[in-house]
């Protein structure tokens, strides 16, 4: 088995453990239309032989890029997904002590809470990866959350020999991370090998005036896709998958550099967001 086959087998194993351990009606997966959660869909179809046996949730702020909505409409149909679109509460309902960009992001957390409450989901699968940033590097595949969806990073369950925490007292909610061990480069190598369709924003093109900023026509692309106004393209010539993979071998800027989420103002902002339930 090569490196990608190993990653794939591990993710499929986790999907199946989750599906076995969790009440079937209480399991759902997040889909942001980004590269990671779309790779998750791909893996879930493999894990369950073509059909994903649980719903996919998108928490919609109404601020996704236009290309993203177009992509959503096409593939919800094409992949025959059981899809839930959840409207997020307005900015006024977020924690006012967070930096503004983090507040925009935390609307998603509130939206997720709503859908979880309304539909009674106890386990949510999310496509986070350990290499994305430091707090995620400490995550577990099966991560229990407090009653308020909080994450206690100091008291995480042990996880070894592919034995996960799948026993819970009633009322516990759970985050499951089938992509935790993948890196950004792994994702693109897999997208390339499996020929998975991606939102075109990932590929470089010239950007001029864009969402209130003027980039002067330089070649740019999104390395991470988020909301309008808080997510920006970064300079890049990578207009094909091959070039993206090449770029990732030499870049020294971080994946989320176009998406600081307020961490440029307050180094603990993201940690606070995560502890409060942000993915």
């Amino acid at each position: 088995m090569d490196h990608l086959e190993k990653l794939e087998a591990q993710s499929i194993y986790i999907f199946r453990e989750a599906f076995y351990a969790v009440d079937k009606k209480k399991l759902a997966m997040l889909w942001s239309f980004g590269k990671d959660s779309t790779v998750m869909i791909w893996l879930a179809r493999k894990a369950f032989f073509g059909r994903i046996p649980f719903p996919l949730i998108h928490c919609d702020t109404g601020l996704e890029m236009d290309e993203v909505y177009a992509y959503r409409d096409r593939y919800v149909k094409e992949w025959e997904l059981d899809f839930i679109s959840q409207e997020c509460p307005p900015l006024e309902e977020t924690d006012p002590t967070l930096p503004w960009a983090a507040r925009v992001a935390s609307r998603k957390t509130l939206g997720l809470r709503q859908v979880v409450e309304q539909r009674g989901f106890t386990a949510i699968m999310a496509g986070i990866r350990r290499d994305e940033e430091g707090t995620r590097a400490k995550e577990r595949y099966f991560s229990p959350r407090g009653a308020d969806n909080s994450w206690d990073v100091k008291e995480q369950p042990p996880e070894f020999w592919d034995q996960f925490k799948t026993d819970f007292p009633p009322g516990t909610s759970l985050r499951i991370h089938p992509l935790l061990h993948w890196t950004e480069a792994d994702i693109w190598l897999y997208v390339q090998r499996e020929n998975i369709p991606m939102v075109p924003l990932y590929y470089a093109r010239p950007y001029g005036a864009f969402e209130g900023r003027d980039f002067g026509g330089q070649m740019m692309r999104f390395r991470s896709i988020g909301e309008k106004g808080i997510t920006w393209p970064t300079p890049s010539d990578a207009d094909t998958i091959e070039k993206i993979i090449e770029e990732l071998q030499t870049t020294r800027t971080s994946e989320r550099s176009g998406r600081p989420m307020g961490a440029d103002e307050d180094e603990s902002a993201f940690e606070r967001l995560r502890a409060a339930g942000y993915m």
């Binding site: 100091k154 090998r193 961490a263 180094e267």
Partner: protein, 646 residues
Amino acid sequence: MKNAMVLTTCPTPLAAASENRDQLKIVIVGHIDHGKSTLVGRIFHDTGSLPEGKLEQITAQCKKRGMPFEWSFLMDALQAERDQGITIDTTQIWFKTARRDYCIIDAPGHREFLKNMITGAAASEAALLLIDAEEGVREQSKRHGYLLHLLGIKQVAVVVNKMDRVGYDPVKFDAIVKEYGAYLKSIGVEEFTFIPISAREGDMVVERGQYLDWYDGKTVIETLDAFKNLPAPTEQPLRFPVQDVYKFDERRIIAGRIESGTLRVGDTVLISPSNHTIRVKSIEHFGGEAKSVAFAGESVGITLEDQLFVERGNVISHEAHPPALVRKLSARLFWLGKNPLVKGKRYKVKINTAEFQAELAEVRHVIDTDALGQHVTEEVARNQVAEVVFTLRGLAAVDDYNELERGGRFVIIEDYDIVGGGIISLKGVIDLRSGSREVKSSNITGVDFRITPEQRALANGHRGGILWFTGLSGSGKSTLALELQQRLFNKGYQVYVLDGDNIRQGLNADLGFAPEDRSENIRRVGEVAALFARAGFIVISAFISPYKEDRRRARACAPEYFNNVYIKADVATCEKRDVKGLYKKARAGEIEEFTGISAPYEEPENPELAVDTRTQSVEESIAVLMEYVERQFVSPVKELTNQGGI
């Protein structure tokens, strides 16, 4: 966290960008403050892997906190950790050399966080173990070395750090090599190397530096590059633990991951523990071409040629090399629970996908990882390593860890939490599969696995049998039966009492007290007792059963299991006790045909055992009975297992 830690730069020119390269996971362990995080920082800096602006950011963060430059900020992402200055949880970070990609797992060195160290180390293929040249070998150095060995990590390099603090003195280095090398050898680690370094100054990490010219071995990076990616165990016997069974469409797909070996369409496979054999019809997968073979490491789904009851926890193997079937787990374990692991307590044991209720039968000893002594104890405390025996409710398909790693390890769950992990030894353990008959898969019930009385006896630790108490009302049958049951149960035996209470109300509710009804009553008790005995139980029946003929018929139901026990007390004694006031009523003529008063009691002539309750106390009587049970039911099994031990 302006710049997240996506460290994906390579100091040397890469091969084709699209290359799907090998990745090696390495764990860095060691005593707290021996320099793990500093070493990681140094590796990243010297290989040019730091992201843009990271160095400046760490400098700024340290300045803000009024502390000297601290490499560990590169790894310790959480504010809580930065404030406390210790790594709390395991974290991972990526870098690459010309040779391959690496995932470094930084495991906490603090004793408190052993579960996190285990979490990190168990995921690794190789390890760097750090020892401070100045402080020397510490307790955690040994504990970590021991646990790496227990977790099966065979590629270990011992990095002696802070050589700058001891003036790069080879004598200091040699002393640690001698002491720690001896320790590793004593616990059975055969291959290891030692590297003297200064992570802070950058000696012998990536560059050799100028102060360690007396050392001619590999640098840290050269050592990492020399480690091997472990091949998937495709050449070992097939183990395919069933993860789930899906019926999304007309296919009934048995899903799981092949832990070891190779599986082909058309193979005849053995299902454990049901012991059925059946042929593999297909290997299913979504997208791409149909597969005819699947190898260790692959998550697959298969269909079978016949309808057969298969469920999660079953283990699929080939007939030639099946796993052992056991009901006792003899294991070495590490304990992470907040509460101690206690003898006699119930836990849940998970072996791959199979779960069992288990009871800790024995703590052989706790292993002192420091001095390597052994302590005899009844319990295992948090962070200790011990050799123990669990008794399982159910038949587990397992391997000896040293033969087949993935079939020979398990975790323990208490109150929803994983509280320990262990590796299984089959040394001296009897495989309960032997003696089982092969059954063709055309029988679809899945339960026709023939279990021999010997197998039940081995599983229970005693033979099944009937203790047929007979004696007058008030002789002490019920008292002794219930007390004996309690004592035997406490010893973990399968035991059950049959008496008027549980028989008369249900099974024999249609019977009265006329002589023919009494006779029928005893006949049925005899049959039920025989069934219990054949099921492996020690069954105690507590009925007056006054007639020889009735007792003869009861014996005839299962002569090989039958033990007539005469609970002896004369009428006068019983009448004096008269706990239930029955004798009084009988004397008053209120009860007809009362044994000993108005109906005969035929004394047994040659009982297997007589217990005289007129002259003996309850405790003395119980002692006689216990001794009899041990001799009749337990010793023969011990003799059987002594040939192999269980």
